[in-house]
């Protein structure tokens, strides 16, 4: 097997140059998903039958279907749907002109929201009820109690899972090429297609994801230690 080292190196730089796109999709999706998931998790911990059914239906859908399918559904249906809505309201927007990355944000946010919701729910439920009661007794409102006492503790519990979901999300964004987004995978595939150097291209992508995911995991390990500094092992 001959490896075209020149191509290998050249494409590696291309892949590296596309890292910001991958991280962009990841970061934006996380920023949208986190508050949404937190809000849904809080709702899930309260009584209220119909809203529970809706939320758990959504979570089941996301967890029970391949992400490729979710991408295909959203990418093929959403633009025409949005277009007819825009027409209905007589708005002057052409959704077909939108940067495809917007659809990537939508798919990956919806997907990540469902996964994070379950993580937040179980993390919040793992905090002893006495913490909330003590905060209320100290004169705090429920919102203050969550903000200052419950969420900081739940975050520590959730950190390892948030890390897993983030890494999964980074890897998942490799499917963004289906929506014509030029992420790390897409860039390498395009480069390879000219001279059929797929082996080299895939090795570059492989290395790219290993590096990005390792850096993210190290960053999470630091963050975990930081938010969990109150945890001392006796």
């Amino acid at each position: 097997m001959d490896i075209n080292y020149q191509f290998l190196i050249k494409t590696f730089y291309l892949v590296l140059a596309a890292v910001p796109t991958t991280l962009n999709i990841t970061a934006v999706s996380l920023l949208i998903a986190m508050p949404l998931a937190f809000y849904l998790a809080v709702i899930r911990l309260r009584p209220g039958k119909y809203i529970q059914i809706i939320i758990s239906g959504y979570i089941t859908f996301v967890r029970g279907t391949p992400i490729v399918l979710q991408i295909l559904i959203i990418y093929s249906i959403l633009p025409s749907f949005l277009n007819s809505v825009a027409k209905g309201f007589a708005l002057e927007v052409n959704v077909f002109d939108w940067n495809p990355i917007i659809y990537a944000y939508i798919v990956f946010s919806l997907n990540t929201t469902a996964l994070l919701c379950e993580v937040f729910r179980s993390a919040l439920a793992s905090i002893n009820k006495g913490q909330l009661e003590a905060a209320l007794c100290a004169g705090m409102t429920t919102v203050q109690a969550y903000r200052h006492i419950i969420v900081p503790q739940a975050l520590v519990v959730a950190m390892p899972n948030i890390c897993n979901i983030t890494v999964k999300l980074i890897k998942g964004t490799s499917l963004a090429f289906l929506m014509t987004v030029k992420d790390m995978t897409a860039v390498a595939k395009i480069a390879a297609s000219y001279g059929y150097n797929y082996i080299e291209a895939y090795m570059d992508v492989f290395a790219g994801y290993v590096i990005v995911c390792s850096v993210v995991q190290v960053a999470f390990a630091f963050a975990e230690r930081h938010v969990g500094k109150f945890r001392f092992i006796k």
Binding site: A134, G139, Q153
Partner: protein, 250 residues
């Protein structure tokens, strides 16, 4: 100062409080005794609305309210006037000792930080923990944690402090350090309602003793009367069980 009348509370079909009245004047130390399951914890929790009574009236200084229909605003005001010391401490795990004590001042009562820290340090000095202010709860013994719990309660200068079996979770050798502090508070005239199984301590600090069983107040009065000449058979039985030495002292 604090008067509650005819408090009823049910869990499903289990009637836990069957019409309890309590009257607390400023400076009173009310001790509630009674067998496990008699509703003592539930009563304390209804007073600051951690549990919601099904019926009952509360007069607390200028506030006069129906306990089953208290608004969120009323509940918050009552909680601002009280403090609660839990059986299992419930210190904020993510906060240092100092932050545990200042939280109720800064977050709960909007007191400026410098002033809050001053008040907190005074409270911590009182419970003998000035050298532990930057520790986290997980680094403290049970006795130290409960002393932080007491500092957290006194720092906000509440009208009344509610104690729910403050020493029940402690190893025997740690009990006296906590009881000593509560006793000192009693001597300084702090108004308190204390649920405890420590009989000697109860007889020592109480200005008024209430004996509860099955959701009712069976008997109440001055500590001397309750401990030395209880009128009710159930009180006598209870005291005989928890004070076995009474029988053998001749």
């Amino acid at each position: 100062m604090l008067k509650i009348t005819n408090v009823h509370k049910k869990y499903n079909d289990n009637e836990v409080l069957k019409g309890v009245d309590i009257n607390v004047a400023k400076g009173d130390v009310v001790v509630i005794l009674g067998p496990s399951g008699s509703g003592k914890t539930t009563l304390l929790r209804c007073i600051n609305f951690l549990d919601h009574a099904d019926q009952g009236e509360m007069e607390f200084d200028e506030y006069h309210l129906q306990m089953h229909s208290a608004t969120a605003d009323e509940v918050r005001k009552i909680r601002q006037k009280t403090a609660f010391v839990f059986q299992n401490y419930n210190l904020f795990q993510n906060k240092t000792v100092l932050e545990n004590v200042t939280a109720g001042l800064i977050i709960g009562r909007n007191i400026e930080k410098n002033e809050a820290v001053d008040l907190a340090l005074k409270a911590l000095a009182k419970v003998g923990l000035s050298d532990r202010v930057n520790f986290y709860p997980s680094q403290l013994s049970g006795g130290q944690q409960q002393r932080v719990g007491i500092a957290r309660a006194i720092a906000v200068q509440p009208d009344v402090i509610l104690f729910d079996e403050p020493t029940s979770a402690l190893d025997p050798e740690l009990i006296s350090e906590v009881l000593g502090i509560i006793k000192q508070l009693a001597e300084e005239g702090t108004t308190m309602i204390i649920v405890t199984h420590e009989m000697k301590f109860a007889a020592d600090v109480a200005t008024h003793v209430i004996f509860m069983a099955d959701g009712n107040i069976v008997e109440e009065g001055r500590p001397k009367d309750i401990f030395q000449s209880p009128k009710e058979e159930r009180t006598r039985n209870f005291l005989r069980r928890v004070l076995p030495q009474v029988e053998y002292n001749i």
